[in-house]
Symmetry: C3
Subunit: 176 residues, 3 copies
């Protein structure tokens, strides 16, 4: 999201979109396994249907984009603490419910594997392959003390709420 | 949602919708009382306003569609365990917050009754009466080992993400 | 939301919106700090971009609209109890995750301040200044026993689901 400063929200230049293009814009706010899963399944399905698809990762949603070893970052203890509490990367996501010290997640992952459903890790790679635009939220990065090099490769440039809302006009919009 | 296999997301035939029809498509991801309530209130209100209304029940959202005694299903222990942890039917939903071993829910239900607000059970019946399309997610059913006969009557055929996204183009879209 | 009574959902008169106006409609269901933040950042950014912006506060989302000392309201013990469990006002919001008895929130607020990001309290004032329509849900107010004078100034008249869905047709729609 754009940095909404005390002086008011930042206004970025607004790209215009042709109305006739079918588009899907997902605001991925949650970093948990059972939320990132529908995010990526909807995004890859939308892209496979020919929709111009953007996922805007914000707040907790940024953590699945962290490099696996980027766990400890930030310039001060608060940011370090927040970063440590949220070990990044799609391999470390938890379920939002029924986590049972990881047992719920293990069950879910094993079920998914047995039923030939792609894991978030695989879906993230597939999304990049299908041309889904994966956009990290600049404001969240600033807030958490994250730099571009802390995030996985293949992402768009970090952007703010204005860019996300400009993409969203006329699109299917979901806040997940 | 469509089964997004390791080979890529499944692409189903895409029904085209006339642009001029007003439509509402809700992705009902959460099975909790305080989420299924707004889902059904918005769906029945939308239908009463003449909008073509679809609710796509996915992930935890599938549990309110279970028959009351369908609690124990699935071919293996993992699916049985997941099923047991989630007793189905709208009579057994919990609040996502302030549950207090059921007291929060009891209060809410009693308040709703006193204020003449319909219960989820009644709203589900009303939705069916008003022609709201209630669509269970095929992928979630596969993942949880649920069969069509485990679900309540009056639902549409199970479908995937492609169908849901095709309905969603040009509609009011909410992920709840 | 409209009172969906046992006789069916209430149907309010439906205002028609010109299709060409860019609009943003947020259904603010959650009262927590990390949800009200994106709600208000997106709303103020949308308004600053020239979008006609409406936030419809429903369920737990109503609590940030309570006057700070309106904590104890309601005509009976159940409503009193619900009200007390939810001390209103944007100064008392909790994070939905990692709250750590308030430490998570304190960290987040301090981080936000250091990075010059507006607080929910400031964003709420900014939203009013920018002409964002802040609409409390009539049904939730009835359910919780809240009166207009329990809520902060500068809000629109309380309204129901029909009004919210009428605004939502053709708009960017997000359920947060």
């Amino acid at each position: 999201m754009a940095v909404a400063t005390l002086e008011g929200p930042a206004v970025e230049p607004v790209p215009q979109k042709p109305e006739e293009t079918e588009r899907l814009v997902i605001f991925a706010w949650s970093g948990e396994l059972d939320k990132i899963w529908p995010t990526l399944i909807l995004a890859t399905t939308g892209a496979a249907m020919g929709k111009e698809t953007t996922v805007f990762f914000t707040f907790w949603g940024l953590f699945p984009l962290l490099k696996d070893q980027a766990g400890i970052t930030g310039e001060n203890w608060m940011q370090k603490m927040l970063s440590m509490m949220n070990r990044g990367g799609t391999e470390h996501l938890k379920l939002s419910k029924m986590n049972f010290a990881g047992a719920g997640k293990a069950m879910m992952m094993r079920l998914a594997k047995e039923h030939n459903v792609a894991s978030p890790h695989q879906l993230m790679a597939l999304a990049q392959e299908l041309g889904v635009k994966l956009v990290p939220c600049q404001m969240t990065m600033d807030l958490m003390g994250l730099k571009r090099e802390d995030l996985i490769d293949g992402l768009e440039e970090p952007a703010g709420a204005t860019t996300a809302l400009a993409e969203a006009q006329g699109a299917i919009t979901l806040f997940i």
